[in-house]
């Protein structure tokens, strides 16, 4: 008995020795091999795409955000019951037979069926294929960019593509901030497939949130009024920019043509343009305020100097006329701007001289990008002095032979409104990262463009232009509007100035003593008569301003 026990014990011991030996072999000598095999089965590295940052208006109202969706793909080699799959996909995703036929019978391990399906629909499909035991569908979670306000500020916000990269507008211009950083994670799965461990290999983070300077309420008013105005004046197009002249912040950037950001694929390229930064135009008489200020600043004239307002002015054999060929006799700078007298302004500019005029316009940053950060911005045209023709001194002071963008024009006019400081226009008010403000915009002064005294004179003149000049339709009782009209004949390349095609505009601010808002309204090719800037764009200016006054509950002052 004892012997048997000894034998049994010995055998058990030997058995343990064998097991121990095997364990040593596995754990010590083949450690790396088995570790690698276990890792292959249990561990996976996955890339976590973080969401894009939100775009919000200045009040925190979301203009663009990400939601989770499910994209559906097919493993063609491992699918079963293709006809069942086809039926389910056709019913649930409203896809055509031809489309599904082509996708299902491809030779591929991965074929997209539909990207970014609403999660509920994807869940239903998942359940249906499980019930019918059809295999092969792959469900991939993806972020989708959505725009709660639909068409509002579409040309400014732009959109992000299927792979969440910015393609237009703010989405493109600030893509670097909005894009989140990818995160690489190693997950460990248990025997039942559940995740039992997680390790971050490369940390990522969601994109930064952008708080724009845009006020959605003002933006909506501007969009509605410019759409109504374009229709009323049968214009080809039109846009509005509204800015806080003391901070350089853009409050609205609206245009008549816009599109639904949630269905951007259906829009036309011309609808997607942001005219405020990408459409250069001749500013016409609105440019007189800059030429006039230049003459004052360089001391070429004084406000009390008299000039002939009679026409024409002949330069190098070319005749410059006043609107409707009217002669005004002796006039001062105030009258020239108030009544928009071309010949008077040309005579002022002749006294100023080409070089001073050019230097001043450069100081106003004409012919240069504003640095707003939006894609598609053009610099406009201000030729170097060496390329000026003999006619330039007649054409440029009245806004011909020079082109500007809306953002340039309003930025320069804002410098007059705020007392002489040229500010960099801004569209981003704050940048938030993971709930904290990491950047806050401040007014960025580029330079002083003129002395406060001369700027004050120009503001008074602009006030007169609205009170008793061409800008009359823009007047709002109690709010001391100052502004300047512009009606520029359009030049067609290769043809020259064309009769009947005008850019009509009005730029104005209020109240003149301490301006809260500056508004630029531009109409392209007004089809009705009169087509003058004051009687078209000026009216739209007033309508917009009145609505904003009501929205902001601004109180009138004695005027």
């Amino acid at each position: 008995m004892k012997r048997r026990a000894k034998i049994a014990l010995t055998l058990i011991f030997l058995g343990f020795v064998v097991i121990l030996g095997r364990l040593v072999e596995i754990q010590v000598f083949q450690h790396q091999r088995w570790l690698a095999q276990a890792a292959r089965i249990q561990e996976r590295e996955i890339i976590n795409h973080h969401r894009r940052g939100q775009i919000l208006d200045r009040a925190g109202r979301p203009l663009a955000r990400d939601i989770k969706t499910t994209s559906i793909a097919l493993d063609n080699y491992h699918m079963t019951k293709p006809e069942v799959l086809r039926k389910i996909l056709k019913e649930r995703l409203s896809l055509t037979d031809d489309y599904l036929e082509e996708r299902i019978y491809r030779e591929s391990y991965f074929t997209w069926i539909k990207r970014k399906v609403v999660p509920n629909a994807a869940e239903e499909i998942k359940k249906a294929v499980e019930e019918l035991e059809a295999k092969g569908l792959i469900f991939v979670e993806e972020w989708q960019r959505v725009y709660p306000q639909g068409q509002l500020a579409s040309n400014l916000i732009g959109f992000a593509g299927l792979d969440n990269q910015g393609l237009e507008g703010t989405e493109l211009g600030f893509d670097g901030l909005l894009q989140g950083r990818e995160e690489v994670i190693r997950i460990v799965k248990g025997g039942d497939g559940s995740v039992i461990g997680k390790q971050v290999l490369k940390p990522g983070r969601p994109g930064d949130d952008l708080v724009l300077t845009i006020d959605s309420g003002i933006q909506l008013i501007a969009e509605q009024k410019i759409m109504e105005g374009v229709e009323q004046y049968q214009a080809k197009d039109g846009f509005v920019i509204i800015m806080d002249p003391l901070a350089g912040e853009i409050l609205a950037m609206a245009q008549a043509k816009r599109y639904n950001l949630n269905r951007f694929q259906e829009s036309l390229p011309e609808e997607r343009l942001n005219l405020a930064v990408s459409y250069p135009f001749e500013p016409g008489s609105a440019f007189k305020i800059f030429a006039g200020l230049a003459a004052l600043e360089y001391g070429a004239i004084s406000p009390d100097d008299w000039f002939s307002g009679n026409e024409p002015v002949v330069i190098a054999g070319y005749r410059f006329h006043n609107a409707m060929r009217m002669s005004y006799g002796a006039v001062r700078l105030k009258d020239i701007i108030k009544l928009s007298i071309n010949t008077g302004m040309i005579r002022v500019a002749q006294r100023l001289g080409e070089e001073s005029l050019y230097q001043f316009l450069k100081r106003m940053n004409f012919g240069e990008l504003t640095g707003l950060g939006l894609p598609g911005e053009v610099a406009g045209t201000l030729r170097p002095l060496s390329e000026w023709s003999k006619l330039a001194i007649g054409a440029i002071p009245i806004g011909q032979s020079v082109s500007v963008t809306g953002i340039q024009l309003i930025t320069a006019a804002a410098a007059i409104a705020n007392g002489g400081l040229l500010l960099r226009p801004q569209i981003v008010k704050e940048v938030h990262r993971e709930g904290k403000v990491i950047e806050r915009s401040k007014p960025q002064v580029i330079r002083r463009i003129a002395s406060p005294e001369n700027v004050e004179i120009m503001k008074e003149i602009m006030r007169e232009a609205v009170k008793s000049g061409t800008g009359g339709p823009a007047e709002i009782k109690g709010f001391a509007v100052a502004g300047k009209t512009g009606t520029a004949q359009k030049a067609i390349p290769g043809i020259g100035y064309v009769e009947g095609k005008y850019t009509s505009l009005f730029v104005g601010f209020f109240p003149v003593e301490k301006p809260e808002l500056i508004i630029l309204v531009v109409l392209d090719e007004v089809g009705t008569k009169p087509f003058w800037g004051g009687q078209t764009a000026g009216v739209i200016f007033r309508e917009i301003a009145e609505r904003i006054i009501d929205l902001r509950n601004l109180h009138p002052l004695a005027d």
Partner: protein, 146 residues
């Protein structure tokens, strides 16, 4: 036989210290004595199984085994709870996603253009128009109020 007895003696002989006497002096009653002693010694052997040393070893073994089992149970519990945590996290993520979708739908429903459309078309509201009332100056202030 002598050989057998010798063998038995060797095997069954109690320890001199335990018996306290010599077996050589009484050879006739040797077999019985040996058997009796063997039984006695067996009794002594039985008592030896629960010595203090063995009891300690036993207790330590039980404690180690219990701790090992506890450790295994804890590991299993940890894995189980981890799995449950992952499931709950996944549910939480889904709920968050659903919440965001609903949030988007709310924002769409409360978009400025929709509110205005509803106000104008369903509630027949109209846009405000500015009206001014000029009041005489008050307390030296030259102001006009709406």
């Amino acid at each position: 036989m002598a050989k057998r007895v010798a063998l038995d003696e060797r095997v069954l002989a109690p320890h001199p210290a335990l018996s306290g006497r010599s077996t050589r002096s009484r050879p006739r009653t040797r077999d019985r004595t040996i058997a009796t002693e063997a039984v006695r010694s067996l009794g002594h052997e039985k008592e030896a199984l629960i010595t203090l040393r063995r009891a300690i070893i036993l207790i330590v073994s039980i404690v180690i085994t219990t701790l090992a089992l506890l450790y295994l149970w804890q590991s299993w519990q940890l894995a189980h709870l981890n799995a449950q945590l992952q499931v709950h996290r996944a549910i939480l993520e889904k709920l968050k996603d659903q919440n965001e979708l609903l949030q988007f739908k709310i924002e769409q429903a409360f978009s400025l253009e929709r509110i205005e459309r509803v106000a104008k078309e369903k509630l027949e509201m109209v846009e405000p128009s500015l009206k001014y009332l000029t009041l005489p100056p008050r307390e030296g202030k030259d102001t006009t109020s709406r």
